[in-house]
Every structure is written in structure tokens, then in C-alpha cells.
Symmetry: C2
Subunit: 212 residues, 2 copies
Amino acid sequence: MVNSNAFEPAVSMMTRQQQKQKTRRAIIDAAFNLLDEQRSLSSVSLREVARAAGIAPTSFYRHFKDIDELGLTLVDEAGLALRQLMRQARSRIDAGGGVISTSVNTFMEFVVSNSNEFRLLLREHSGTSPAFRAAVLREIQHFIEELTDYTASHTGLNRQLASLQAEAMVKLVFSAGAEAIDATVAQRKEHAQRLNQQLRFIARGAAFYASK
Amino acid sequence: MVNSNAFEPAVSMMTRQQQKQKTRRAIIDAAFNLLDEQRSLSSVSLREVARAAGIAPTSFYRHFKDIDELGLTLVDEAGLALRQLMRQARSRIDAGGGVISTSVNTFMEFVVSNSNEFRLLLREHSGTSPAFRAAVLREIQHFIEELTDYTASHTGLNRQLASLQAEAMVKLVFSAGAEAIDATVAQRKEHAQRLNQQLRFIARGAAFYASK
DNA sequence: TAAATTAGCGCACAACTGTACGCTCAAATT
DNA sequence: AATTTGAGCGTACAGTTGTGCGCTAATTTA
């Protein structure tokens, strides 16, 4: 029962589609909230999600064919959130500030404030479901491509080197994010600094090979 | 029943401890074999392991308190195997061949021929069990320290830079291993080459910052 | 040789899972 | 106003899980 309060007029104001969307949202949000540091998609049961969303187990099927279909939706949502973040980061860079440190800071912000979303990507990246792995890989590949484009156009690096550099950087950034996710504020700052320096190693190294 | 053949003298030749060790091995091996691309430690049930090991579910408790205790054993074994590999790689390097390419090749060999062990480390690195995550992290940290020592003594790099470099390299290597694990032979070769070049970026970059 | 230890077993149980089926009743369509 | 649609529910069922308990039978110890 999504709304059992007979005195709430807002419900009667909702069309069927609106109501369905609302329940769908409740399911998705409930699932994200279940994905804390102790749970993964494969360990969350349909019944649990339904319980958290406040619907009957069987009602779940009105929205998703599977738990897996819900999982893909979650991966897509998390990936989208990250992509939006990247755009935001780029705009900050244009407004001044180093490319690397701005990106690192923005990324770390995301990891902290959307930890369940990031955790999802992290886990399913090496998880047991080939479909989820593929979905996460697509998101990461997207990242790498965007960074490759940015690098190629802003540094004049040849495209192959730019791609190698972008790939290495994204991998390091994700690795650092994984460590940051259950670190203290102080540790996180430390990690961010190390990451910064390591990214500079890569940039320098790529620049060196470009000049040969 | 480990051996129900009354006409097999080898059994009667075994002491109780030997027999117990054998069963313990059977459990561990069974667990490793269950950890294919579709299964993770948390999705493998005690009963499944027992079934695969050919013992009754309740007999499992004669050897491990928990499934988790078995898990930690598996992580330790896999980490040990990797460490032994590193030693082997170092001896190959001393016998000639580049540090980077030799290490990369050795690592890739391990990933291919011990894929279930590597998968375990990979998954539990970002898995749901804090204890497993910590165990894997210890193994990786061990890796980084060894590489730091090696780098510091063979390149004269200052210790902080050597540590940064080693950390970045290990992370990239693990990332590449993750991709290699379900790749074709041709893709793997491609990945190895990219990884090689990326590691050189890092080495060059670190060298650059050392000379400032 | 007698007694103690113990690896392994079968049985039992409560908890939980996914999902099939048919119902309700409000919204949408005709 | 009459009909169709469909989101959500309750019941039900077979399957699987972890684990407590007490037994057997063989090795080890005394």
C-alpha cells in the first residue's frame, strides 16, 4: 500500500502513471539504501527490496522482470550521476584551477556524498554477474573516452598516447575512490594527495614519450 | 564419507591427522573450484561446499567455524601463491630481461593459470565482508612494499617517490589483471602491451620528479 | 585390552527465498 | 454509465539455507 491515508488528497490527484513512477522510485531508492558496506546486489533479495519499498513481494514484478533488471537500472543511474559530475568538474576547470586537482576533488566529493552509488559500481565492476560487469565497464569506458578527448584537445598529445594516459588515470582514480570510501577525512586527504602526485607521474611520462 | 572402500589399504595407512588434513584440502579445493566467473564467496553456501567436497554439511564444522573462516583461508592461500610468483619473477629479472615486462608477463601468467585464485582476490577486494577486504588489502600492501624496496634499491629513487610509484604500478597491474581474466589470448596480449607502456609512463614521471 | 577421543553422518527444524495464482478496486477508456 | 485495465495484495508452495543434537565407528591413548 503506497498511501493508505484516505484524507490525503494528493493521492487522488495523481494519475495512474504518476503513482506507478512513484512506486518505481521507492523501489530504486530502497535498493540503493540497502547497498551499504555489508550488502551487494547479489546478496539483496527481492523480498528485502520489496519490504524496504513498502510493497508486497509480488508487486515487485509490476515494475521489474527480475532483480537483475533492477540491478541494471541502478548501474545506469549511478553511471549517469557520475557523468553529470564530470561535466560539472569540467566547467569548474574552465573557471580556473588545475585539471588534475579539480577532477580529483570532484571525484572524491562524489565518492563521499554518493557512497552507495559508487560502491555499486565498484562491486559490480568485479562482481559475479557478466551483465552487470559489462554495464559498469561501459560506464568506465565512457569516462576514458571523455578524458581522452579532453586530453587530446587540450595538450595536443597524439591520440594513442592520450588514450593510454586517460585509461591509466581513470583506473588510478577508481582505485583511490575504492580506498577513500571507507576512510576517515584525514586519510582521504592523504589519499587525494598521493593520487594527485601519481596522476602527475602519468602526465609527465606521457609527455615524455610524446616528445620522442 | 571420505573413503568407503573397505578393500583400500591406503586408508588404513593414514593416521587420523592425515585423514583430517586430506578432508580439509578437499574442502578448500572444492571451494576454489566453486569460485568461477559466476560465483563469489558470499554466494557460495556451506552446503554447496560440503556437497562438492563430498562430506555432510555438518562435517564442515569439524574443520572451520564458519564459511568466513574458510574464506580467510582461501584469501591467504591465494595471496601466498601470488607472493611466491613474485619471487619467481624477481629471479627471472636477475637472469636478464626488463623489470617491467618480466613482471607483467609473470603476473599475466598467474592470472590465466590461477584464475579462480586471482578472481577471489579481485572480488573480495571490493566485496561485502570487511574482514575479507582487510585480508586482501594486506596482501596488496605487501606487494607494494616489496616493489617499493626493489625500486628504491635498484633505481636510487627517494623512498617516498618509490612508494608512490610502486602503489600506482600495483594498482594498474591489478586493474589490467581484472580485464585480462575474461579476455581472449589476443586481447590479453593487447592489454599487456598497453599496461607495459602505462607502467613506463609512471616510471618516467617518477624519475622526472626525482630530478627536481 | 579397555577407555577415550573425534571425524563424519543423518535427522530435524525454523527461517528465508522466488514466484505462481487469483482477487480487489480505483483509474482509464469506451 | 458501463467496461476494461492494471497496480498492488494475500496465500501458498517447493526449494534452499545454517546449524543443533545425538549416533557410529575407527583411531588414539592409557
